[in-house]
Symmetry: C2
Subunit: 259 residues, 2 copies
């Protein structure tokens, strides 16, 4: 698609998008990426806007909200088969997209002052946590970049996307209290220090080693193996693996405060 075709498409979205999408409702996806000691988030750089944004989009008139989230993430980043969870719906009337969208229209050379895109949007937030070394996101036609940013080095973002990201992170941290973390982030077997590092990275603070081990074992979702990790300077740490049936049960019922 060349630049003229792209601008034509963008203009059509502003002027006729309301014929296919529900008005007033958008979806924003916060995709966290973890690997070793790092937590990142996936952002797109919007063409023209010059700022970064969460991958987002709109809901088709007859589409399930959860299906829309999957489709949008796929269309905008190429990612699929990602377990997305709703975490919050953002409804501040001042999160209006009017100003930024008027800038858009001016840039592509139309004087339209009326568009469904200038109206108020309530945005449903979805989030996921993946291993960022295992996925290859790509920018869509509306973006000039698609990158992972370390959670401590977030660039300037459009609208209230920083606030949406903050809420998603708080929710992820709270979730560690009562749901096991995704087994897709851990190798088949892992040591207790590796697991602790995962928790510390997400919670962004140091944890007490003994306390962590005791709490983790009390959840019942870990199996200690007889094998130890080779090539470690000091005392070789044991490997653990997840007990998948207990893990699935804990995902469903919660686990932190099992009564």
């Amino acid at each position: 698609m060349n630049i003229m075709e792209f601008e034509k498409e963008l203009k059509a979205h502003f002027l006729k998008g309301h014929e296919v999408y529900l008005r007033h409702i958008s979806i924003d996806c916060v995709i966290f990426g973890f690997h070793e000691n790092e937590l990142k988030v996936l952002l797109l750089k919007a063409k023209y806007a010059g700022k970064w944004a969460l991958p987002g989009g709109f809901v088709l008139k007859e589409e399930y909200l959860n299906d829309a989230a999957k489709r949008i993430l796929h269309e905008r980043t190429g990612l699929e088969k990602i377990y997305l969870q709703q975490f919050y719906t953002f409804g501040d009337p001042a999160r209006s997209t009017k100003k930024i969208n008027q800038g858009f229209l001016k840039n592509i050379g139309t004087s339209a002052t009326k568009s469904w895109m200038f109206e108020r949007f309530i945005s449903v937030g979805y989030s996921a946590l993946v291993d960022f070394t295992k996925v290859q996101p790509v920018a869509d036609l509306f973006s000039e970049g698609c990158e992972w940013f370390n959670i401590h080095e977030i660039p300037e973002m459009i609208l209230d996307h920083r606030e949406i990201l903050k809420k998603a992170l708080e929710n992820l941290q709270l979730q560690l209290n009562f749901q096991p973390v995704g087994y897709n982030l851990l190798p088949l077997k892992f040591t207790m220090p590796e697991l602790q590092k995962l928790y510390e990275t997400i919670l962004d603070r140091k944890l007490d080693r003994r306390n962590f081990q005791r709490k983790m074992m009390s959840t019942g979702i870990l199996k200690k193996l007889k094998e130890t990790k080779k090539g470690v300077a000091h005392k070789a740490p044991f490997y653990y693996k997840l007990d998948l049936s207990k893990y699935k049960k804990a995902l469903k019922a919660g686990m932190g405060f099992e009564l």
Copy 2:
């Protein structure tokens, strides 16, 4: 307001409501009520529909979503100063209100076939937990009844309201794993059996007494008093009270799986 005035108002809502409210977005409130050994939920009986419904409504064009939830609950039931929390946003396209709303219109004698009320609605669910002996809900003009129903004796409900209620209850039960229950449900001082009963009623299952006491004390939000309960046949149980500063901290940070 007499019946003719009411029907006029209802008709105006169908034909002109979209001038004041956002299209496609509604709010439904699940108000749980607890007292002693009983968990209830507050329902309204819609005039004409002959079925019960969650107190719900629509969002004004320039209104915060959270403010809309408070206003709607107040307008529909008279309740105020209730701590409402978002729990999920329902976006199944088949939850359409078309059929039931066409029935409404027919009943009030208009042949209008077009109304914003026939369009698809995505509903944001809010919930709260109160002591049902401490509030006096009253039905609004659109309802012919406003009653507390035991959670095990829910009548037939409109649309997907039973599903919304189910999700709210699951969320409340999951929340017990990582957040302390509302201190507004407990007397200033209470015994461990009374606290256990609260948990058992919400979780709808029996809990092990010793295990419960151990877990509860480990959260750090309870203070044991020197006073025991009088007039009890067997061994007099001690009173406890909530440590409010720790309680507030736990509300914010989560507590079940404190690391």
